[in-house]
């Protein structure tokens, strides 16, 4: 008798534990392909955390059209091949409804065909896929690559006497795009690019590239790319005794702190609005950032908010599109994304159109430096 009672209790416990699983079948599933390891680990882990924070915030208010958001994250190891595998897994096994994926551009490109066939839209951290046929299903929170470049060229023209510059970039599609923009726009700012050098994200030494740039007469280096190599570049510039400015693309503030200690007033970086929140004037942008930054700081304290804030935007844009479409269906969601206008996010105002899937059209970036440990806007 006791045995059968125990068995019944165990069965009941099993059923009870299965209930939430059954309920979760009604969840709205957001898939995240992110480089949790590999060169993009720092940014994509932050992106993932921003996505999860936003999902929790939406769920706390009852979810989206009555359904809770479930976030499914897979590590693509910052590799295109692995990205295809994880996208396929999330589509076929997890039955993901929409993707809000990280910053590994090549990985998102590689998987774009899968999503096209599955009719599942993706909101990205990275640049958009390069093939025209893939574009209808891809949207991005990333401002145009030229914005990051132009902000630095503008600063060099207006605030320095430097007219010869070097570009140091990693081999990712986004970095190559920025390099191309720099080549195209430098002359507009009266600048000459005298050296273009590539590096790999796991390079332990960049002094060869920096020596070449110095030898070519460059007075400043535009570094384009993610990861700890900014620190390597700064250290190498100092070891070489090179009198050069280092102006880096968007990156984690945690990387910039030690870089500023090495290069002092010769170091500048492109910053997103959330990274300079305290310096922003009151207004819709600051209010929008605050909605994200309050729970972010509560959970992660002084961790850099940049990538996470766009992950937050990715989820909030998706929620807005679902509510606008009044549907969870992929095709309708895709159409709703294309019609999203005037959405105030943490990085700026998003205005999508059928022919424009990169929603931010006004340059939201500032150029900043770090003085006495505090971020200061200079441009």
């Amino acid at each position: 008798m006791k045995t059968s009672t125990a068995l019944a209790a165990a069965l009941a416990a099993c059923l009870a534990s299965a209930l939430p699983q059954m309920a979760s079948a009604q969840d709205y599933k957001i898939g995240v392909s992110a480089g949790l390891t590999g060169y993009a680990a720092t940014v994509d882990r932050a992106w993932r955390d921003g996505v999860e924070l936003a999902a929790a915030a939406v769920n706390a208010k009852g979810g989206v059209m009555g359904r809770k958001i479930q976030v499914i994250v897979e590590d693509n190891r910052s590799e295109p091949q692995e990205s295809v595998t994880v996208y396929r897994k999330m589509l076929s096994s997890d039955k993901v409804d929409v993707f809000v994926s990280g910053c590994v551009s090549a990985g998102n490109f590689a998987a774009a065909g899968l999503l096209l066939r599955a009719k599942v839209p993706m909101m990205l951290c990275s640049i958009l896929p390069q093939l025209a046929e893939h574009l209808p299903w891809a949207f991005t929170t990333l401002p145009p690559a030229g914005f990051e470049v132009d902000k630095r060229l503008e600063f060099l023209k207006e605030k320095t006497q430097i007219r010869k510059i070097a570009v140091l970039h990693d081999p990712t599609p986004y970095a190559n795009l920025q390099k191309t923009v720099a080549e195209r726009n430098a002359a507009k700012y009266g600048l000459e690019i005298v050296s273009i050098e590539q590096y790999k994200q796991d390079d332990a030494d960049l002094s060869v590239q920096i020596s070449k740039a110095r030898s070519a007469g460059a007075g400043a280096i535009l570094k384009i790319g993610l990861g700890g190599t900014t620190l390597t570049a700064a250290k190498n510039i100092k070891q070489l005794g090179a009198d050069m400015l280092l102006l880096t693309s968007l990156e984690d503030l945690a990387v910039f702190g030690p870089v500023a200690e090495v290069l002092g007033d010769k170091f500048f970086f492109v910053a997103s609005p959330s990274q300079v929140y305290e310096a922003l004037p009151n207004g819709p942008l600051k209010t929008s950032i605050k909605a994200f930054l309050d729970p972010w700081r509560e959970k992660y304290r002084d961790r850099d908010p940049n990538w996470a804030s766009r992950g937050w935007d990715g989820v909030m844009l998706t929620v807005a599109a679902v509510e606008q479409a009044k549907s969870f269906e992929g095709e309708k969601l895709r159409a709703a994304f294309e019609e999203l206008k005037g959405f105030q996010g943490t990085t700026g105002v998003y205005n999508f159109r059928p022919d424009l899937h990169q929603g931010i059209t006004d340059n939201p970036f500032v150029l900043a430096t770090i003085q006495n440990g505090a971020v200061k806007v200079v441009q």
Binding site: T37, G38, A41, T42, R45, P171, E197, Q198, Y199, K200, D202, D203, A204, D205, S207, V208, Q209, S211, K212, R214, S215, A216, G227, G228, T229, L231, T232, K235, N236, K238, Q239, L240, G241, A242, D252, A254, V255, P258
Partner: protein, 292 residues
């Protein structure tokens, strides 16, 4: 006309990173000689050397030399732990070499992930050991950390040579590398030598990590590229030849630096390895010839 005045500077950079590759390569050789195993956890030792030093220095406020010594000791102890927990059980069961190599690779991944959990994913760095402006020789800048890397590496190579030539333990390790069975018959505790080899190899990896971190950054995932370069250095030098591995590291560092100049960084590894491959066609057993 092309300006090649920076080539000497490039060679200096290549020598600096080559010394680090060389130290890691020696680590591979020391374990290989004692056991016949290629230890792919070598990269984790490099990463941990820099990471533990950084943590003790920045988070716990220890003076840099104390933090560095503690890191070397901790990583050496970890080397022994890997030998006892991962390698020894397989060794005792006479597992094939491939299984043991795979086990060290698994150990590398486990260490990497545990580091990620412990200290996070943010890149970290150490200050240069001597914060002075670079020494200028003509147009060539010699950073103070470069002097530490080269000087430290040469000192370690000399100490290792003395250790293997002059001490009983060193001679016993050499005996194990020549013939383990014969060494055991002579009363040499072969298994203890294996543990010692792991400790020594781990310490060398940690020292390489501590020397290089002030010139770049360290993070949980920096170990594997160093391990690959150190492995190549060991092969080029003649696998099992510690001094050969050091020369192999220098050659690899120089080749990579020159390859960046000629072909660009994207083809750096391809170009450097192509040249080294050609070299191995001419001299398959490496610079000094394989140990066995």
């Amino acid at each position: 006309m092309a300006d090649w005045s920076y080539i000497p500077q490039v060679l200096v950079s290549g020598l600096g990173i080559g010394c680090v590759y060389g130290l890691i390569g020696i680590g591979f050789c020391v374990i290989y000689n004692a056991s016949g195993i290629v230890n792919f956890a070598q990269g984790a030792f490099v990463m941990l050397g820099g990471m533990i030093t950084q943590t003790l220095f920045s988070r716990h406020g220890l003076p840099l030399p104390v933090a560095a010594l503690a890191a070397v000791a901790a990583v050496a102890a970890l080397g022994v732990a890997i030998e006892r927990i991962v390698v020894r059980p397989l060794w005792n069961r006479k597992a094939t070499m491939f299984v043991m190599i795979l086990a060290t690779l698994a150990a590398q991944i486990v260490i990497e992930r545990l580091t990620l959990i412990a200290v996070g994913d943010q890149p970290k760095t150490l200050p240069v050991f001597t914060d002075l402006p670079p020494l200028m020789i003509g147009s060539v800048a010699i950073g103070t950390q470069f002097l530490w890397i080269v000087g430290g590496s040469l000192a370690i190579v000399a100490l290792l040579a003395a250790f293997f030539a002059l001490t009983r333990t060193g001679k016993a390790m050499r005996a194990c590398s020549i013939n383990r069975e014969a060494a055991a018959l002579q009363g040499i505790p072969v298994s203890r030598m294996l543990a010692l080899a792991f400790a020594l190899s781990a310490a060398l990896g940690a020292i390489a990590g501590i020397l290089i971190t002030p010139t770049q950054y360290t993070a949980f995932n920096v170990g594997v590229p160093f391990a690959i370069s150190g492995f190549i250095a060991a092969i080029v030098g003649g696998f099992g030849r510690p001094f050969g591995a050091f020369l192999g590291g220098l050659l690899l560092g120089l080749m990579q630096a020159l390859a960046i100049v000629v072909f660009g960084a994207g083809l750096k590894t391809v170009a450097a390895l192509s040249v080294l491959l050609l070299f191995l066609f001419i001299r398959p057993s490496g610079i000094l010839g394989a140990a066995k």
